[in-house]
Each structure stands twice: as C-alpha cells, then as structure tokens.
C-alpha cells in the first residue's frame, strides 16, 4: 500500500468537492452548469486511478483508467469491428424494425377502441416482463448471426413503443378534436394534422426508452451465442480470460454508443417538438 497515493486521492477529492461547492454558489451561468459535472467526472477518474495504484489492487480485479485508455487505443480495430457487428447490424436494424412495427400497429388499432382497451394493459404488462429471456430462443431459431440479435431488439422495443404511441394518439384533447370536426376534416386529415403532432412527445419518449433497450438487447443476446465478433461476445470471452482492461474498453464503447444514440434522438425530438412546453425551457 502506497500511503502518499491514497492520501493524494483523498486530498484531490476534497479539493475538487470544495471547488464544486464554491462554483455552485456562484451565479448559475451555462458555463457553471457544464463545468461542475465535468469536474466531478474527472475527480472520479483521478480518485479511481490513485486508489487502484495506491492500494495495489490487481489489474484482474479493477484496472486503472490509464490502462483502460491505453488498451482502448491499442485495440481500436477490434472495437470498431465489434461496434459494427453489435450496434449497427444488431441494435440499429432491430431498433428501426421494432419501433416502425410498433408505430404502424398503433396506427392500425387506432380506429378500434376495443383493441386499444385490450392491448394497452397487455402491452404494459409485457413491457415489465424480463423479455431479455427470449434471447436464447431467438438465437436458437435464427442462428448465431446478427439477425437473431436484431430480433431480440425488435421484441424488446416493440411494447414500450406501442404503449407510448397508443397513449400519445389519445393525447389531443376534446376541444381540438371538435375543432377538426367543425372543419369537416376526414379521419386521415385529423390524424396527420392534429393527432400525430400531438402524439410526438409520447412517441419520442418511447423512442428514447428504446435506445437503451436496443443496446442492452443486442449485447445480452450475444451471451447466448454469436460469431467471434461483437461487443457481447468480447465481454463474455475477455471476462473468461480475466483481461478486464479489454472488458472496460468495450464498456466504454457501449457507454459512448448508448449516450450518442440517446443524444441523437433527443436532438431529433427538440427539432420535431419545439412547440412543446418541456422543450421551451
């Protein structure tokens, strides 16, 4: 145990925390709102690094961030191949198919209140189930390739998306619907010009929930069988070989991909629903 490094970690933590407390008492500018979480994140990394080195924690248990960074830079080609296999082929295609299918289903049952009343509780129920358990079955049906991962993603995102869209289509209030009727608008006109735009916040909520689900589905499905490429495959094999720096590098990729995916959908939401109170800030 190296006492100076451990003490350094504690001192750094206190100093950064003090700085953050001081900063948060200043006038709340945009700069402060960005810099405070950044300082907190850097503090976590530094403390992690110093503690791992100071307490002599073995790299097979918890590698320091610098080692993970080095491994990340070293194995960029592998990480890129895994990213393509899991994220672009598995998660993204499943995401589009699943969300698209759910959206169309919601429109299709829109005219039948009976089906809606039946599907909403069932959809809510299924959304709470551990659907990820379907993964081994789908891997068995569709083989080890990316198709089975996409299928897992489709099933995982379908129900949250369906429930959100159906709820969104009911969001336009009676006054607005009555107004459309006084204009003698047809069903499709009122759907396209009033109810779909009114549903947009709900639809985007579903789309945002689905981004995380899609990535989780694609990665966990690979634990049940995959070709020798993919993020889930890499994580499970490298854990077996106890090279945890590679696992952490893969997790960093997953985290960045997940946040970027979510960020893109949020930007689209801001562009599409700029009129909604939650976006006017």
């Amino acid at each position: 145990m190296n006492t100076t490094l451990v003490l350094g970690a504690i001192v750094f933590w206190l100093a950064a925390w003090g700085l953050n407390i001081w900063l948060s008492k200043q006038k709340q500018t945009r700069f402060i709102r960005v810099i405070v979480p950044v300082i907190f994140g850097i503090t976590l990394l530094v403390v992690w690094e110093l503690l791992v080195r100071g307490l002599n924690i073995k790299a097979v248990l918890l590698p320091p961030p610098s080692m993970i960074g080095a491994k990340f830079v070293d194995s960029l080609p592998i990480l890129w191949a895994d990213f393509q296999q899991t994220f672009i082929k598995g998660a993204l295609s499943g995401y589009f198919i699943g969300c698209g299918a759910a959206f169309l289903t919601a429109i299709a049952i829109d005219r039948s209140p009976f089906l809606q009343k039946g599907l909403l509780p069932v959809g809510n129920f299924v959304a709470a189930l551990p659907i990820i358990g379907m993964a081994p079955i789908l891997v068995m049906w569709l083989g080890f390739g990316w198709q089975s991962k996409a299928a897992v993603v489709v099933i995982m995102v379908f129900f949250p998306m369906l429930v959100n869209t159906v709820q969104g289509l009911q969001a336009a209030d009676h006054m607005q619907k009555d107004l459309m009727r006084t204009y003698a608008a047809s069903y499709w006109q009122s759907l396209l010009k009033l109810r779909l735009p009114a549903a947009a916040p709900f639809i985007f909520n579903g789309l945002k929930i689905s981004t995380t689900l899609a990535l989780i589905g694609a990665i966990v499905a690979e634990f049940f069988g995959s070709p020798i490429v993919g993020m889930g495959f890499r994580i499970s094999t490298e854990v077996g070989r106890l090279s945890l720096d590679m696992v952490w590098a893969e997790i960093a990729v997953a985290a960045m991909a997940g946040s970027a995916f979510y960020g893109v959908v949020s930007l689209l939401e801001r562009a599409a629903t700029f009129w909604h109170p939650s976006q006017r800030g």
Binding site: V36, V122, P130, G133, W141, V220
Partner: protein
Amino acid sequence: MKRLWNRFGPVITVVFGIIVLWYVMAVALNSAWTIDKLGRTGGELSVVEHIADTWSQDKPKLPAPHQVVAEIWKTTVQKSITSKRSLIYHAWITLSATLAGFGLGTVLGILLAVGIVHNKAMNLSVMPWVIASQTIPILAIAPMIIVVLNAIGVTGLLPKAIISMYLSFFPVVVGMVKGFRSPDQMQLDQMRTWYASKWQTFWKLRWPSSMPYLFTSLKIGVAAALVGTIVAELPTGAVRGLGARLLAGSYYGQTIQIWSALLMAASLAAGLVAIVSLVERFTLRRMGMLR
C-alpha cells in the same frame, strides 16, 4: 355482466388471440421436423395427425402452450421444493436476490435523492451523471462484476443482488428527485410562514408529496431488478436460478424448459409489480391522494 365485459372483455380477447397465434406458430415452426421424421420412417399422416404431432414433440422449435403448462405443473407441484429440478426452488433463488437488490437499491436511491435535493453542489455535479448513466447499457457489465466478485471470494446471493441493486437504483433516484421537488412554491412558502425547519419541511411536505413518484419508480425498479438478477445468473456457470435454467436449456436444446423458465420469470415479474401496485393503492388511499 355488461360492465364486467367492458372491463375485462378486450383484455381477454387479446390474450385469447395471442394463445391462438401461439398454436398456429407452433404448427408452422414444428412442421419441418414432422415432415422430416415422416421422410425417414415412411408412412402417411392426415392433417389432424400432422397438427397433433407438431404440438407434442420432445424438443420442438416452439412448444405449444399446453406443453409448457404441463412442464410447469410437473416441475412445481410434482417435485419437492428442495429438489434441484423444482422450478420453485430456482424461482426462489432468483426472487431472493431480486428482493435483496431491490431493497438496497431503493434505500440507496432515496438517500441519494435526498442529498441531491438538499445540496446544490451535489445536484449540479451528480445529477447529470445519473441521467447520463441511464443511457448506458449497464447490464453489459453484469458478467464482469460477477467474475470479479467471485475472484475476491464473494459468491452466492450478494453479487446478483449488487447488479439488481444497480439497476433498480436509477429509476428511484430520478423519480424521487422529481417527487421531492413536486411541492410548488406556494406550499414551500407556506412552510416558511410556519417557520418550519428544513427537517420538518422534508417530513411533512416533501416526503408525503413524493409518494406517487416513489411508487411509479418502484414499479419500474422491481421489474429492472428481476431482469438484472436473471442476466447476472448467466455467467455463473448455469448452476441455480431462472437465468441458469434459461442458459442450461439453450445449451441442451430443451425448448420446453426454456419456455417454462420464461413463463415463471414472467409470473414473478407480474406478481412483484402487482404487489407494489397494491401497496401503492392502499397507501395513496390512506393518504387521501387517490380520488
């Protein structure tokens, strides 16, 4: 009667439709094997016999619902609970880890939310990371945590509970921060006119008004905790628990076993969410927040 039908009719119809679809799918997916078998043994089957065969294979691609129900009956009622073949035994392993993790995650989440609401520096520095961490596929870390904890001698229930704690923790933090902030300025001003301390404001205003948010996040959290436990059971070498049953089933092609474990997990999830909803209704009714 009419009212009952209005309430439950649509749901029953949809569930019935799903079961019919399931049987049809079973015929479609299992036909190949029946035809293949016929080709080897020779002989003819009528349409009815053909369909009956697709619903009664040993290792079908998609077992028919009655096969799954029969398997569940066989592995729950007809086995003693301590037997390793009993589904109740495996479900209990999963349930205990889920509940431990869910309890820990809820307590931790509420504490962190209290800190975030009362401390400006914490709000500014921790909250963005809590939100960002929701976009990260946390489940992907599960196998690593299990292996690392096993390496330092922590085995059994605890590693699984840690993962389900991690998963149930975030919905609770986000929901409770919203809940603690839900009292509006008027109510906070009222507390100030009464010269209430921070502590009193918390217990008499913030905590009660956060209850609806608490239960909403608990429902999400308990479902997430169960998923976490099931995934956490995968890398431990398929020994015990519903996740292990899934993995073992997929290794040996025992589709009926996979489906029965899946149905068991689904009923566990449904049961847990139903219990939280019941407590929610009771509490909110006692507090006068429901109708």
